[in-house]
């Protein structure tokens, strides 16, 4: 195979028309030949800029050069030094604003396809049965650490602590481990059995216990974990799961959902499958409000469940917080974007069911303090989109349950838990990371925080 060195080796994808009707993964991943070919585009820079763009500083040229030599296991171990969820991150990280945005190849052409290579290495390693392992010289520390939440931050923190010799238990409120990876991000972007369940298995294989159906703050408080259950430190990785609504008239109508509800029904409860016992609305025409990854996931899910889908976003495409790839995929699948448009009212029929969504046109005003041009409504421009479902994806904030049941735990005004450089909260021995601290962010940042908290916990407990 010959390649144009200025371009990424293309990756196979399901045909848009076909995939818009199924929940199988869209991106089919590189073959070994394609991966090695793409790897050969990497210049193995001395001062690799890509690494500066990576929030956890993966040794990118390091793993790519192993891959070039066909050494998958070696490549996997290089990545594992910095990341514990490569099969997930290779699929869902916003590489275009992180590592790939910095890649030197990007100056004259397209950046090296770092994400696809990471995914290839992780998937192949899994197929070869390569797993993270407890260090041969690990000594048991004889101390127990509790981790709250089995999302990316909690799983990572738990895995790292187990490797250091701690006895770790994860407490997860839902019936399945994975956090947003199981309840939020859809199957067609992140397969649950093939990828997420395997990552969870890997963490368990390190000796981590996972207790599902355990809501901390209710079934047990953080005080109980210390005083009654004998834990010496606690990590909070409870995420940012509380959905926001717009507070516009008609929002209580039948057919208005938060993206969290819609996605949880489809992903966690499997409602996209006709065999599931959990119902989900199969809309004819759905309006999705918002422009982030969550909005794209809700839109593409509604599309697959048979709807004509309109994404309504109050700014322009340049301001989309969603990953470029997701927007591109959504468009290919026939999702319609109504930009510079904002809902002002939801209209219901006489039985309370949604029949339309009245929107107002927006225009971009002067740049605000942050430099973003904020949208302002164009007076008199209201119009109604006929629809039978409206899905709100306006962002989420941290759940106050743990804060309100734990004394001495302080949060900032947006509800995020306050931590110091070692990720310790204002309560001694209690650490936190991920969306619970930052508000809704990314998988890689949550994972990075879990790693750094594991280090912080080890230092704290070693000093005792």
């Amino acid at each position: 195979m010959k390649i144009d060195v200025f371009k990424k080796v293309p990756v196979a994808e399901q045909d848009p028309k076909v995939r818009a009707t199924n929940f199988d993964e869209v991106n089919l991943g590189y073959t070994k030949e394609e991966a090695v070919l793409e790897a050969s585009r990497c210049l193995n820079c001395k001062n690799a800029r890509c690494m500066q763009g990576c929030p956890v500083s993966i040794n990118i040229p390091g793993f790519i050069s192993k891959l070039k030599d066909g050494d998958i296991e070696g490549a996997y171990h290089v990545i594992s030094l910095s990341s514990s969820l490569p099969a997930v991150c290779g699929r869902v990280c916003p590489q275009e604003t992180q590592c790939e945005a910095q890649c030197i190849r990007g100056v004259k052409g397209e950046a090296v396809s770092i994400g696809r290579l990471e995914r290839f290495v992780a998937d192949t390693a899994r197929e070869m049965g390569i797993k993270p392992q407890l260090p041969a010289d690990m000594v048991k520390k004889g101390k127990k650490v509790a981790v709250i939440g089995a999302g990316p931050s909690g799983l990572t923190c738990a895995g790292d602590l187990a490797k250091m010799g701690y006895d770790v238990t994860i407490f997860e409120a839902l019936h399945k481990a994975g956090g947003v990876l199981v309840y939020g991000i859809p199957e067609f972007r992140l397969p649950k059995e093939k990828v997420v369940a395997k990552e969870v298995e890997n963490v368990k294989a390190l000796g981590v216990k996972i207790v599902t159906d355990a809501v901390i703050g209710r079934a047990l408080t953080i005080d109980d974990l210390f005083d009654k259950e004998g834990f010496s430190a606690v990590f909070i990785g409870s995420g940012a799961g509380l959905p926001r609504f717009m507070n516009i008239p008609g929002e209580q109508s039948l057919g208005v959902f938060s993206a969290n509800e819609y996605l949880t029904r489809s992903n966690l409860m499997g409602a996209f499958s006709p065999d599931s016992r959990t119902p989900i609305m199969r809309a004819k025409k759905a309006v999705i409000v918002g422009g982030g990854n969550v909005a794209m996931d809700a839109a593409r899910t509604a599309k697959r469940l048979g709807a004509e889908v309109h994404v309504v976003y109050r700014r322009s495409e340049a301001e989309f917080p969603a990953r470029v790839e997701e927007v591109h995929h959504a468009k290919e699948e026939g999702i319609i974007f109504d930009l510079l448009t904002n809902p002002v009212e939801i209209i219901a029929d006489e039985n309370g069911w949604v029949k339309g969504c009245t929107c107002i046109r927006m225009e971009l005003g002067e740049p605000d303090a942050t430099g973003r041009r904020s949208p302002v409504p164009v007076e008199g421009s209201e119009f109604t989109i006929e629809c039978d479902a409206v899905i709100m994806s306006l962002g989420t904030s941290p759940n106050p349950l743990i804060k309100t049941t734990t004394s001495g735990l302080e949060t900032n005004k947006r509800g995020g838990i306050i931590v110091d450089e070692s990720e310790m909260t204002t309560r001694e021995g209690v650490f936190a990371g991920g969306d619970a601290v930052t508000g809704a962010a990314t998988v890689i940042l949550a994972m990075g925080a879990g790693k750094s908290a594991a280090k912080g916990i080890d230092e704290y407990l070693s000093a005792q």
Partner: protein
């Protein structure tokens, strides 16, 4: 894991189960609920904690078979296990936070409708154990639908029955019964109503007229029960609240019942199809359209 230790039929389609769930039993308080799943494909079903035994790690649920999942639950036997039992969820009843002396000074009335009797029982028992005397009106369509009679009698100061058809106790619904007590000069200064939404709505209209502050327990549609999905939202005093974390108990005068009842019909068609599939088994083709 979550083993059913005892199972008992309390009335037509109403079951009681004691389940081994130590994490829930350890902390549950009156007013809270839990979520169960029958098996790994099961829907998450919210149910009130009707009793708990902290020492033995047992919790009691009482449920009525109304749809496919509660029907499947009723087919479980002693010794079978639920795939999941999670809780306690929601806030405990405000009553349990009040000083006992203050409670004793109050004249409290409970109004229990149908299967809502079981959640009332947990609160009544707690109050009784703390030496607080409380009255209760227990209502049902007809005598044979009244459940937990002996248990209720043991924990209530005065227990009044009301049946729509007059087959037992006062002839009429719970509102008729309350009005009758009021006309007889009985006075209350706090009321708790738990039952079908329609009953809670009318009971609240009456208590408002009579000036008795009233608390209700809202059994909305739920998914996670931890504040994550917003499926359980309802309007209370014009504000959006999440029943699973802000409730399930709310000021009954402030709840928008009409809207809450409307929202509870959201998945009716799909639930109906599931129920028909379950009861008709393989003979259910789905082609006649009745279930749509």
């Amino acid at each position: 894991m979550f083993e059913i230790k005892t199972k008992e039929l309390l009335g037509p389609k109403v079951w009681r189960m004691d389940i081994y769930a130590p994490l829930v039993a350890g902390k549950a308080m009156p007013g809270q609920f839990l979520i169960v799943r029958v098996d790994k494909d099961g829907e998450r079903i919210p149910l009130t904690v009707c009793d708990y035994d902290r020492d033995r790690g047992l919790i009691t649920i009482v449920f009525q078979t109304v749809g496919a999942e509660t029907e499947r639950m009723s087919r479980l036997a002693e010794g079978d296990c639920f795939a999941d039992v999670v809780g306690p969820l929601g806030r405990p009843s405000d009553l349990v936070d009040l000083p006992v002396e203050e409670l004793k000074a109050k004249k409290i009335l409970f109004i229990a409708g149908g299967v809502g009797t079981a959640p009332c029982y947990n609160q009544l028992k707690w109050l009784h154990d703390n030496g607080v005397a409380v009255d209760c009106i227990q209502g049902a369509r007809t005598k044979e639908l009244l459940i937990l009679e002996d248990e209720m009698k043991a924990v209530c100061e005065n227990l009044y029955f009301a049946t729509d058809d007059g087959s037992y106790g006062i002839h009429g619904n719970v509102c008729v019964a309350l009005q009758k007590l009021w006309d007889d000069g009985v006075r209350y200064d706090h009321c708790v109503v738990i039952g079908p939404m329609i009953m809670m709505k009318f009971a609240c209209q009456l208590t408002k007229k009579l000036g008795i502050p009233t608390v209700v327990s809202m059994n909305t549609i739920m998914v996670d029960g931890t504040g994550m999905c917003g499926a359980c939202r309802l309007l209370v005093g014009g504000e959006v609240k999440f029943a699973c974390v802000d409730g399930p108990e709310f000021d009954g005068w402030e709840v928008d019942f009409d809207q809450a009842m409307q929202r509870s019909r959201l998945y009716k068609t799909q639930e109906g199809e599931l129920m028909l599939k379950l009861t008709e088994g393989d003979t259910h083709s789905g082609n006649c359209g009745v279930c749509k």
